[in-house]
Amino acid sequence: MNPITAPPPYVGAYSRPRFRPESEAPGLESLARHPGWGLVGLALLLGLVTVGCDRAGAPASAESSRTRVALVMKTLNSPFFLDMKRGAEEAARELGVELVAQAPERELDVEKQMQIVENLIQTRVDALCLTPSGSKELVPVVGKANRAGIPVLIVDTRLDEATVQADGVRYVSFIGSDNYEGGKLAGQHVASLFPQPAQIAILEGIPGHETHDSRIRGFRDGLAGSPHLKIVASQPANAERDQGFNVMQNLLQAHRDIAAVFASNDLMALGALEAVSAAGRAGTIKILGFDATDEAREAIAAGRLEASVAQNPTAMGRLAVTKAVEALRGGTLPKSIPVSIELITNPRGQ
């Protein structure tokens, strides 16, 4: 088959410069004029910028002899992890240790988180606190930390115990709240709101991720004693705000009578809230989120959001660093360190 329909002026095309044989040898002179040197200059410039930022931001030199504790989170685009980082920074300041806090750009980027951990192992941090973005996927890299003799504390999201066993990997402690219990609190709250039959929708997080899955499981179990409440839809919105908006819009089209929505994080809940407002139905649908971020708390105080499960990420970050230092000083830690969990509601609204 002939892919060319209209014959263009071939003669002109043949004489295009890039097909002219290049006689120039890669001598020093030609190199000096060459783009590669631009790259070189740029690399230098960026290096300097980098150092500038680094040194200005952290007065303590990265190479000081102080204890260095790393905190690797899922992302920093979310208030939850910013709060965790803040808590860790406070604890690090009080304890006089250096904190290295890093995260991939996207919460879904398991491989990038693995790379960050590998790189931190290379800098020989003294302890590693990790919020794994994949319960099974990060197990191999925890093994690498084990082999480098770096103690690992798991924060917020559990590692898959079966994989941990199978790989013979060790971690000191799990620090976090029980996502399942949090989901259950939300479910029980919805059950108490609706003594009459009602339709419920769920916005799921990232499918297959332990944190979101246990929240949803908890929520469903919280509703279990109320057979008159029917879950009409449960759709993934990838833990993102814009997805929460879009999926909620679609759900509103499909199910006009939804009375309550549970989103497994606040970003999706706030997205859903906007979608409900945009549909002109603000206030008619009870929306519950998870994480109790500042913005969600404001929305709850304003009576727009029904409730959110508070996990206290600041306490998690603080505990992570404190316990890591404790472990380094030879203390023995329990296998699981619970962080309190509660449902934030608007008392006036009740």
Partner: protein, 315 residues
Amino acid sequence: MTPPKLALHHARQLGTLAGLLLLVTVLAILSPHFLTPGNLLTVLEQTAINAIIAVGMTFVIISAGIDLAVGSVLALAGIVLGLLLQAGVPVPVALLLTVGAGGLCGSVNGLLVTLGRLPPFIATLGMMSMARGAALLLTQGRPISGFDSGFRTLATGQWLHLPAPTLIMLGVYAAAHFLLTRTRFGLYTYAMGGNEQATHLAGINVPFHKTAIYMLSGCTSAVAAIVLTARLNSAQPIAGIAYELDAIAATVIGGTSLMGGQGTLVGTLIGALIMGVLKNGLNLLGVSSFLQQIIIGGVIIAAVLFDTLVKQRRS
């Protein structure tokens, strides 16, 4: 059968290499942890996946096309691999079928571009969405995890201290470099990118070779999927999001022209190493992930900008 502008290729490669060496020097000065054997091996291991995807991307871009589907094809191929291994298919057979699945996706791209006469941007954009959807559909969104240790040696194994992903990367580059510089297929790849009409008039079967190029890109994405799946011990339907951008970046930093007709795999490999070294170094220095994105974007733009400026000055 030498590719056009051989001398320029060398000059460009030396320039890119100088850029890489300087980056390495700067990072070695800034961080005492950078220039250690352990860290350099880590960089080589981390670069493997992007570098392997960039092989197919280089062929496609030299032929004046683009392949936006590589990340999604990687995810789909990984899922195919995961399902096969879970079903107990012997590892070598599973690997072959995985590469075949990637090649199949690539062939569809190629046929859409040649027989369907779709712009490559559109054809591969469609495939990007379809392959992702298929990966999610096959797994209901859940990762497939837990493979036997034999398969995982593809990520954990070592030979002469080199990690297995690096060895696979080097193998792929050696084979692809031979294909691009020593075979008719390679010559036609340059020819189609330089002037498709002239190539056609010279009696070369353009649709066939172009389809083969997109198929090759699908295959290299699948090889990257094998490495990634072994590395994470898990096949993820959401793997590889935005990997096409990293692969395009490595290719253009390595001197391949988006206009087609020019480029080398050695350049692409150095480009991928620049990306890998930069990301590793910024991590070691503790630069925030937000600033990292700005710096990486700056490097990509600068590399292409200088190419453009030099070309303008020459003509």
